[in-house]
């Protein structure tokens, strides 16, 4: 066992021990630091309730929302990217809008759409849209002028230049945007569900919170975290398989 691994194992044990000591000491409010076996039991509780149904609802909203946001973001991004003047005008507007936490638009979606699925899909779509469109716009600087000049010399059409010059050169950074967009989508969907909904994983979190079933709440949150890490790692792998790794402009690991 290398020292690094030993440090990791010992750290996990130390955290578990500290947690258990806090549980035994009764620190915090009731159940704030549940015993580890209480947590394990809560796991069973959550899984035997209709948790799969809530997961299905969330995944459905996430899938459609993220897909809409990604497609719109990529198309609009590519349209703007190849028109320098329009891009110069619009890009700052998008950049500044993207600093607004997207969840504040949720009440607007609630007024226009329903409290049900549509408003969550809108949240997921908005979450995905901004990182994707901004990364796509930023990806234009990956296209070397030399390549464009060469393409012009070969008398290529606009469509050909898009397919053979722009998109291949921009793909890694665009993919980085998609990765970030999906992460933002997950956050947006779960946040929206926790604010106003009667189903979904986010609703489950806030349900357990309002019932003061803290161990169950921890379990659901833990599952959400594991899911988002798995998605991030999976997309990373996918990017490497598709040779789309190493896009620039990933100055933000996360966005809201």
């Amino acid at each position: 066992m290398t020292t690094v691994v030993r440090i990791r194992v010992l750290s996990v044990l130390a955290v578990a021990l500290l947690w258990e000591l806090l549980a035994l000491s009764g620190a915090g409010a009731d159940d704030f630091f549940p015993h580890l076996w209480t947590l394990a039991a809560a796991f069973g509780d959550v899984l035997t309730s209709d948790f799969a149904g809530d997961v299905g609802v969330t995944l459905f909203q996430l899938f459609w929302g993220a897909s809409i946001g990604i497609v719109v973001g990529l198309v609009l991004g590519l349209l703007l990217a190849t028109r320098p003047l329009v891009r110069e005008i619009v890009e700052p507007l998008l950049v500044y809008l993207s600093t607004v936490p997207k969840i504040v638009l949720y009440p607007v979606f609630l007024l226009f759409l329903s409290v049900g699925t549509e408003s969550k899909i809108a949240m997921a779509a908005f979450g995905a849209f901004f990182p994707v469109v901004l990364h796509t716009l930023g990806a234009v600087s990956d296209v070397r002028p030399v390549w464009l000049n060469a393409a012009r010399l070969l008398h290529t059409s606009g469509g050909q230049r898009m397919r053979h010059v722009y998109i291949p050169a921009m793909a890694p950074t665009m993919f980085a945007g998609v990765r970030l967009g999906i992460a933002t989508s997950i956050i947006g969907t779960v946040m929206a569900e926790s604010k106003a909904a009667d189903e979904g994983v986010g609703y489950r979190v806030i349900f357990y919170y309002s019932q003061y079933q803290i161990p169950q709440m921890y379990v659901v949150l833990l599952l959400v975290f594991v899911f988002s890490v798995l998605v991030a790692v999976g997309l990373d792998r996918l990017g490497r398989v598709l040779r789309l790794g190493g896009g620039h402009r990933t100055d933000r690991e996360i966005s809201l």
Binding site: P101, P107, L221, V224, L256
Partner: protein, 270 residues
Amino acid sequence: MTTTTSAPPVSAGPGPAKVRAWPRTVGVSLTRIGIIVLAAALVELAVELRWATPLQVAPPSIVLPALWDGLTTGNYLSLLGTTLAEVGVAFLCAATVGTTLGYLLWRRPLFGRAYEPLLYALASSPIVLLYPVSLVMFGRTPVAVAVLGFVAGLFPVLISTYQAFRRLDDTYIKVAKVLRLTPGQSFLRVLLPAALPSVLVGLRLGLTLTMLTVIAMEYLANVGGVGAELSLAYLRLRSADMYAVLLLIISLSVTFLFLLNLTTRLVVKR
């Protein structure tokens, strides 16, 4: 919009481009303002023509006076104060703890290597979703909001500090040794100045995340400043107030990014 059509295309020549650069940027800015005004006019028209009900959208002619009232006679300034105080405290803590831990991890490379994957996972995990945990621990108070903002801002600062020191050129450390600087001197005169640019990038990222998280949690948990007011205005079905607060939050974010960019530019220039 006609102003920009006459502007020349992007030209690489240094001479003529410089002469024309000024009117071009003015044209671009004017067009941008034009787009915003047009969007506002469209909203006004949409309500006028009943494409959207007044409950769904309050027209700008009502929202702007509501925003003005809120700022002058209402409670918007104190709400802004609460939000900014939460962001300020959270960020100061995140900056202090993050840079310190990042530096310590670099000094203890074994721990750095052991914790690196976990830290990266946490930095890209949805910290904001932990808001109910913060509520359980600190109650429905601004403290709960600030704590979550702190946690959200901590990891980017920590990681970029750790990476900033790790990427330092060995030459710097050797020079410090050759000059027989004390550990304190070598840190203050050599290591810190060399690492500072990357650390600042992390601080900027941390501050942005702290602000986003604070506003989001205020809205979600209905606690604290501007975010909570947005939630309340929606629940009371007062669309004019709701859009006024929304505009306030957008202005806050925009001003924030503007100041951040300005500071970055000043620091980079120096």
